[in-house]
Point group: D2
Chain length 99, copies 4
């Protein structure tokens, strides 16, 4: 499955920036070794439920450690028997668009 | 924490209805014994990460069993040291609204 | 269509509470006259696209007025030709559950 | 603001694929001229509320035209006075990660 994950600390720093908390969470994803892609709104991770969710939990934990309240938004596309979809899904759409 | 969960089968029945798949998922939540509330868009569940996520996984599994592709949307409000927030959050807002 | 809307100010008050900002947003929904339901994670609103989105925009505006950064999460179930679904969807599921 | 948008038809084709409906929606975004990025879970669009929401509505409309029921998930990061954030947000995080 592919999971799009967004973790936001309840409290931004005084400039309204949440980059440091987000970077800490993305570092967890990166070190997990699972395929991932970072974009301006979500971090997408591909893998089996248990391995992806273990990473999400650990990413939430590093943000909870520095913020009293954490918001998590997660969207998953679960399609047993398919992998390599993080790239394949975009390619299918781009092919249809003639890109 | 409180999790709002929405599980949708990739394929609706011929009338466009997804009620049966949703009911199967909600039954899993109900039988878990965790506090929950069902509304027209999400099922909200309150508990600790591991217990809530075990229920979410099981709910996804019953829908995956009848649909080749499943979409999951999850939003969590994680606030260590707080419980009973499923009721308390709504009460705080209603008090401010004078309801 | 039904829209589940969650608006969060980028900055909570010193106790981590966001109730006041949320109440201001819900007040906008309430005064719109559209059918709505408030739960611990989202405010659900039913109506046509233009009328619902005008309310969402106004609700975002009242929070933007007090917070330099605002997060919005929105999930919509769009089903032309159907109304009264905010109640009907829950009833269909509860009937299947034998509640 | 930046909006992450995901539109899914209620009914996939017989292979479970939703690529054609998604491509039709992304074509609308592309032709709008607004900055956007396509990834495996969401299409991110940057612009002012009215221009972005007009594109989202039009993208929903092309999918509603071929599917009796449409699901929309939208996450927005609203930060008045900032633009060019679709690239800048990722760069801030990557710099903190040492990438």
């Amino acid at each position: 499955m592919i999971v799009a994950m967004s973790i936001s600390p309840g409290v931004a720093d005084e400039t309204g920036s949440v980059s440091e908390a987000v970077a800490a969470a993305v570092r967890v994803v990166k070190e997990s070794g699972l395929p991932y892609e970072l974009n301006s709104m979500f971090t997408n991770i591909e893998g089996e439920w248990d391995e992806v969710m273990a990473v999400v939990k650990q990413a939430v934990d590093v943000v909870t450690a520095v913020s009293p309240r954490v918001g998590l938004v997660l969207k998953a596309d679960i399609r047993p028997g398919y992998d390599g979809q993080m790239t394949a899904k975009v390619e299918r759409v781009e092919r249809l668009l003639g890109d």
